[in-house]
């Protein structure tokens, strides 16, 4: 299905809070119908960017157009074309799912039979028909997120902003939400701007990824492009006997740079593309018996590490 509206264009967008420059001159160009993953640790500037693009926060400097409208000059037109499920699960615990949809639809000027049909369709689509008349305080985290998505879609927006939509969800709920977001983009031409801390989410869902750190975009491209830039795989070896670990470490450092591995394992990022066979031969020659050997292709975490000097999980700490 073709995209229904213009995408997002951002030029030199800045947002300052007193002495803090939360977003520091970012540029973005997101095509209509694209799923753009905005990846970064807590405090990197993701949510601030979303708040500016959804007109909830005026930028300090720079310019952004969403669906063809300037976010500062045409705020109302932007809001009419976007749906947003923001980081906070902003639901009233004392209202039911259906009452939320009714309120949201009515505030968008949707009334009567059209509203009822739309409510029922959306509830069915996000799998909440049975729970529609239950109070939100009885909903699980996954159900709240799904209702949040339904609320964002009530006025048929051409663009969807999802701010960490799967944080705290179990794998099953996460997969269901990914499927729905993918369907919206593929079949309804909805442009999706998705912020996340989860590398897997960006990898699976996004057509393109932007990595933001300290208010700057440090990398941008398709997940495949970004990983290809790194180009190095990681080999992880667990010795049969833990006493062999020092000897194993010494051997592996001949093939690459030591990196973090799972507990009990020694890992290196390989210098060359075909290093695994050489590693196995060397282990055999040295008589080192192994319990496990794993080869990991480059991940977005490796990209993040390469661009910022930190892993995403430890990104709240400053680089050494």
């Amino acid at each position: 299905m073709p995209a229904r509206d213009a995408g997002i264009v951002v030029e030199g967008l800045v947002r300052e809070f007193k002495d803090v420059r939360a977003v520091d001159g970012i540029d973005l160009e997101i095509s209509p119908g694209e799923i753009y993953g905005f990846l970064g640790p807590n405090g990197a500037g993701k949510s601030t960017t979303v708040h500016m693009l959804t007109t909830l926060l005026p930028p300090t400097a720079g310019r952004a157009t969403v669906a063809g409208y300037d976010v500062v000059r045409d705020g109302a037109r932007v809001r009419a074309r976007i749906g947003a499920a923001l980081q906070e699960t902003a639901l009233d615990p004392f209202l039911s799912g259906r009452e939320h949809l009714r309120l949201q639809a009515s505030l968008h000027g949707i009334r009567g039979a059209k509203r009822t049909t739309l409510q029922d369709d959306l509830l069915a689509r996000v799998g909440l028909t049975q729970a529609a008349d239950r109070k939100i305080r009885t909903y699980s985290g996954g159900m709240k997120r799904r209702l949040d998505l339904a609320l964002a879609l009530i006025h048929n927006p051409s663009m969807l902003f999802l701010d960490e939509p799967t944080t705290g969800l179990d794998p099953q709920s996460r997969a269901a939400l990914w499927e729905e977001v993918g369907r919206l983009s593929r079949h309804e031409g909805v442009t999706v701007f998705l912020t996340t801390q989860y590398l897997e989410e960006a990898d699976v869902l996004a057509d393109r990824v932007g990595i933001i750190d300290h208010g700057h975009i440090v990398a941008e491209g398709t997940p495949t492009q970004l990983k290809a830039e790194i180009g190095r795989s990681t080999v992880e070896v667990v010795p049969e006997s833990p006493e062999e670990t020092p000897r194993l470490s010494a051997l592996l450092t001949r093939f690459g740079v030591p990196t973090a591995g799972k507990p009990g394992a020694t890992a290196v990022q390989l210098e060359g593309r075909d290093g695994l066979a050489d590693v196995v031969r060397a282990l055999d020659l040295e008589g080192l018996r192994t319990a496990e050997i794993n080869l990991h292709s480059p991940s977005l975490d490796d990209v993040f590490l390469a661009k910022t000097g930190r892993t995403l999980e430890g990104a709240d700490e400053e680089p050494a």
């Binding site: 909830l56 926060l57 809001r79 947003a84 902003a90 968008h108 000027g109 609320l151």
Partner: protein, 257 residues
């Protein structure tokens, strides 16, 4: 017309959530009734004071219950809005075409609904206990109007504090001050019978006294133009000032472009 519909939508939600939290409205409903029962018996001897305007202390004291109910109701409006700010519900509303004025007036809907319900209950209890409304049925209606007006005025202050502080605690911090204003008013004695000079002066400059006296005049005097003028004037000023403050603060809090 569109704004009126938006006000109704927000007010409906406010009323529903208030009604579904009995813990927030049952104690505020009962506490003034309990105080009314205790004081109307315990302070009955005050009616023997020369110049006391009625023989029924209950009739004299009933306006205090309306004021207390209005105060509690207004607290609910403020705390609910603070919760909406905290959870991000206000942002959800800000992303719809809702007007700021509709948001404020609607948010106060729960307080007005509760204020009206409380006033009806207090009036019914008073009538059942033998209180006679000197101003008749029209006076009883006016009592309800004044009580709801007071809830709106104090509710506006609650909204202002919620928008200013973004926290329920910030809103609740207002209550000791408002309660103090109630206590240093003419709630227990007519101002001319208060013998302690500084207390009488405080009660005289305290606008809450005039709201209580307007309500009281309808119960025990009939139609007193001066008392009603002062009471309605103060209520109108309170509504105007508090809603103006809340509207200004909403523009700061809801910075959508």
């Amino acid at each position: 017309m569109e704004v009126a519909h938006q006000v109704w939508l927000i007010a409906r939600r406010s009323l529903l959530r208030t009604a579904r939290q009995p813990g927030t409205w049952v104690p505020p409903l009962l506490f003034p009734l309990m105080l009314m029962a205790v004081n109307s018996n315990g302070l009955r001897a005050a009616t023997h004071l020369p110049g006391f305007p009625t023989h029924s202390f209950l009739a004299f004291f009933i306006p205090f219950s309306f004021m207390q109910g209005a105060l509690f109701a207004s607290g609910i409006a403020g705390v609910d809005l603070a919760r909406d700010i905290d959870t991000g519900f206000l942002n959800r509303l800000a992303l719809t075409p809702v007007r700021g004025s509709a948001l404020l007036l609607g948010q106060i809907g729960g307080a007005l609904g509760l204020g009206a319900a409380q006033a009806v209950v207090y009036l019914s209890v008073a009538l059942a206990a033998g209180v006679h409304i000197d101003a008749g049925v029209g006076g009883a209606v006016l009592i309800l109007v004044l009580a709801v007006g007071a809830a709106a005025g104090f509710g506006g202050l609650g909204l202002f504090l919620a928008l200013r502080t973004g926290s329920g605690e910030g809103v609740q911090s207002m209550f000791p001050l408002l309660f103090f204003l109630l206590l240093v008013s003419s709630m227990n004695l007519p101002r001319n019978l208060i013998e302690v000079g500084w207390f009488r002066d405080l009660a005289t400059i305290n606008p809450v006294s005039y709201l209580i006296e307007a309500l009281r005049s309808l119960v025990i005097q009939g139609w007193n133009g001066e008392a009603l003028g002062l009471g309605f004037g103060f209520t109108a000023a309170l509504i105007a000032v508090s809603m103006l403050l809340a509207a200004r603060q909403l523009r700061v809090r809801m910075t959508r472009t």
